[in-house]
Symmetry: C3
Subunit: 435 residues, 3 copies
């Protein structure tokens, strides 16, 4: 395979070590603990969010579980790509949170320093979510080095858009339907478009699940589902807005489960449920209610958003994903368009309506629309450019036949059964030969 250099012996270790050393140097220069003695200039500082330094810590841990267990295991549904799913997820998130602290921090310097608080590490975890969503779009088709490059670029661009949306436009996006979910999804789809593989047009043997890989994926699904109220409320204003964000998310997700199950059964052969829908579309309610989570949309309003999100997401998996792949050349491994893309846009649109109806104090519907447009624009342009850089031929991208296969980047244990199988067959052959 002359066109592919997937041997990571030197390339990957050097990239990883150099990145970490640079990061440590930047932390030495710019990052200190938040001792709580803030100047109070910054209206978005953690002072409005925390009374005690550890108040948000339980929320942080819930978000942390979503990032590392939730996203990591959700992607283990592939039969031979579980090591990469949970392992590369850990790698990208561990690097991404450091990079996110720097990139988000430079917009909020105090005396030239970034002061780390629980609020800041929640946001750092959030920034990695964009990368993990995009990772889902290109899962199985990219090398660790490519993905580290994507992490740097995606989080850098995310931080610019986030600053624009929150501080310039002053739009509201407490659960980040627009700036994380829609952004991460369309960024990843743009990358996937640039990295289009005609050789995978007719599918790939390993691009599917086995029974137990689907159960591992459900660990990710359920942890994401349970802790999504924390994701959408972690940085809400304390008091009633935070409670509202929890309740709206809790109810939106519950309603979404019913519609996702119903539509999955409706569109599948003999009315059976499809694990792909259950693993993903049940979460669309959490995405879609994100922007409106802290708004006074009423419990039934949240349920309506979740109900619609479950329908859109499931039908997207069934009908839209095949078309994107065949007509537009967008091979979206995990279907992030259905889980994060369309529900993210739905969340943005819902917020325009909600704000227009006065459901958010000091809200501005035009700014909500601008925030959605900005998030999509940065995603598509940023993703396309990032995809072109990732396409350079020396980052160790796997050849088509080795896609969706851990063994190209991991030492994979030989399966006992397969060995026994082979031995058994060898025995048969031997017997036959003797006979």
């Amino acid at each position: 395979m002359p066109a592919y250099a997937t041997n990571m012996r030197l390339k990957f270790p050097i990239v990883a070590l150099v990145l970490e050393i640079i990061t440590i140097i930047l932390f030495a220069m710019f990052v200190i603990y938040d001792d709580g003695k803030s100047h109070g200039h910054d209206s978005h500082s953690n002072k409005t969010h925390e009374k005690q330094p550890m108040d948000l810590y339980p929320m942080f841990q819930d978000v942390h579980v979503m990032i590392f267990i939730g996203f990591g295991f959700l992607m283990t549904f592939l039969k031979r790509y579980g090591f990469s799913s949970v392992g590369i997820n850990l790698l990208l998130a561990a690097f991404g949170l450091q990079w996110g602290l720097l990139m988000q921090g430079i917009w909020h310097l105090e005396d030239g320093k970034i002061k780390i608080s629980i609020f800041k590490i929640i946001n750092a975890d959030f920034s990695t979510a964009t990368v993990l969503i995009s990772f889902g779009a290109v899962l199985g088709k990219t090398s660790p080095v490519q993905l580290l490059i994507m992490t740097i670029l995606e989080i850098t661009i995310f931080s610019i858009n986030e600053h624009l949306v929150a501080n310039v436009l002053e739009a509201s996006d407490v659960g980040a339907s627009m700036i994380i979910h829609a952004y991460g999804a369309y960024f990843g789809l743009a990358v996937a478009r640039v990295l289009y593989r005609p050789g995978l047009r007719n599918g790939h043997d390993n691009d599917g699940s086995v029974y137990h890989s689907d159960l591992f994926a459900m660990i990710g699904t359920v942890f994401l589902w349970m802790f999504w109220p924390s994701f959408n409320s972690a940085i809400a204003d304390t008091g009633l807005p935070q409670l509202t964000a929890v309740i709206n998310t809790y109810l939106s997700l519950a309603a979404c489960v019913l519609s996702a199950y119903a539509i999955s059964s409706l569109v599948e052969h003999k009315g059976k449920l499809d694990m792909v829908h259950i693993q993903n579309a049940t979460l669309a309610g959490g995405v879609a209610v994100g922007t409106c989570a802290d708004m006074n949309i009423g419990p039934f309003g949240a349920m309506l958003i979740g109900f619609v999100a479950g329908i859109i997401s499931t039908t997207g998996f069934k009908f839209l994903t095949p078309i994107l792949a065949s007509k537009l050349g967008i091979q979206d491994t995990c279907g992030v368009h259905n889980l994060h893309g369309m529900p993210g846009i739905l969340g943005g649109l819902a917020s325009i309506v909600a704000v227009a109806f006065g459901k958010k104090e000091n809200g501005n519907a035009a700014m909500q629309a601008a925030a959605l447009a900005s998030s999509l624009g940065f995603a598509l342009v940023g993703g396309a450019v990032t995809g072109l850089i990732m396409k350079l031929p020396f980052w160790g991208q796997p050849p088509d036949q080795n896609c969706f296969d851990d063994s190209i980047y991991w030492e994979v244990p030989e399966e006992e059964d397969e060995n026994e199988e082979s031995l058994a067959h060898a025995d048969h052959s031997k017997n036959k030969a003797e006979a």
Copy 2:
């Protein structure tokens, strides 16, 4: 199979969508956020429980994990029923929590409205636990439509009994040994009795575990075990009672592990441990100490309850479950009688003794006894009626031979190994034919 209509194509989607739409309409009419401006008429309002709206949120998340990961994965022990265990668990709990909010809420209206707080969503999660316990009794033998019907009826009846026990009898059941565990178990056993299947008298090939399905089940077991102190203390009075509930549950469960392991080894072939016992009986201490959890029974008292519960539960699995199946026609798939039934009764009895000895302020032993009787009565009658409704022949109940098999309601991935196996055999045949 003319007698069975398991094709869910229209039946299930319609039921799920109609239920959800009705629920959203009821929420639009009756449910609002709790803004904290309570009238204070209701001594059971959340004001006595929370000082800040989010105080109970970490407790809520622990309970949430028990409901969705704990119950869901505990039931994945069956070799070919993991999708249903964790997936239908999610479906029932997601619908059940919405229904529970309504059914529990109508007893505590304020100005004709149900005000949702963290306290209320904890109780909504609790209400679903009754259904998930009953689900364990009929696991593998019922359709999703049947189970949605059970969810509606069981939670409705639960809410009546809960109101009777807490507000009329004014009995104490902080950890819900009686109103959730005993109720859920005997309700499920009554349903199982009505749905008795003579065809499964001699067992079923799929009614058992494989190695990795037992490990998936241990995820459920351990999360239930760890967070049970939150289950038993979440709605306790703040301060010492809540601390007492945590410590009693922590110690009861620890003691229960030792007795469950000891008895499992004692009763099994060659002293080996049995995974069924370890997955279930180690949790009996959490069930049994529930009613007494916030009482001043002393740490050793809690341990004694847990120790006895572990013995009762393990011996129940070994000796009683087979008898229930063969003599009484109660086929209890998960053995909920041993994990929730008998330990729940033990919890109620222990509370009668504890209250009689003055371990609970303002306690009344007779009311504790009445609460136990009421919970069992509602469970048995309610379960029997519910079972009769579920037995109607148009809910898609699976035929005997398709019990304990996901593939009747789910798209199940073909196993790679089996395919290779088949191909290998085909090759052999071909070789032989040629020879």
Copy 3:
């Protein structure tokens, strides 16, 4: 096998029941709830740590998850030893936490009583961590009875060393790099040395993973990784020291991931990643930053410690573990020397430097050194003596050929596939016989 009596029918149940009964009696004599009315004599009482009785509860639950899910599933990587890994982990931790409450409590009696608070149960959970680390060193080669004996002795000795370090030397070890990690590792290695098995010099068929067992192990890894900030900060002083401990651990672990991945790829065949390294060495940053976690070492200082720990740990797995086994007769199943031993020492050494540079108020570098020496001394001597007691021939130790195999102590389900396989082969034979 006359030399081995692995049948547990009576031995194990009697040991377990008697231990639990004795423990309950000791609790009845000495243990009460902490009602908060402390005399305030003890500077280490929970009063300095908690304002409300439940303040530390979310921290406790995170630690609890690390002990039961984290350690339990981390060890499920072995292909046929998952039941024991997660099951015996539960048994030892459940007994250990009771024993730890007693052994730690006798140094802090109030009016002759041990008063249990959340602070105390966090410390009880901590005490079990030492045993679970040592369990990793002897995993697959010891019986449940041997391990219960180890639990009693190791926690007893731990509590002496902990008292010496914290109250006599007044050394600082907030995240317990020395008193838990280094102690637990070298204790376990000393036991493993005494229990050396020449018969396993050339490995064992079952001493390895299969694909899905490696994924189960990642559940343990990721939960340990996520909640380690809680482990290192749970008993820190509230306010800035606790926040510092969280941030230092968060960053140390993130940096450690990058160096562990880089070195794993660098030292492996064709630059592939090795699951053993990823499962373990990514956690070394949490161990190594433990002692310094609440010190003012700066975010970059924490990252530097994590970065070095990842390198040391990964190279230890690759180069040192084989030498320990072949030259020193120390067969360390899980490589605890690399995850807990060397990083624990690194943590102690880092604290000596940090304290010498004034990064901890009232710190004393000589006392830090003495604490490290004390922890290692108690570990090696205590472990050797414990190993000798465990070596007595009547505790049911498994023979070499049954090592790393659940089926010696557990009822293990027959594998469906293997059965079909056998039948298939039988068929072939039959065909051939007929031919």
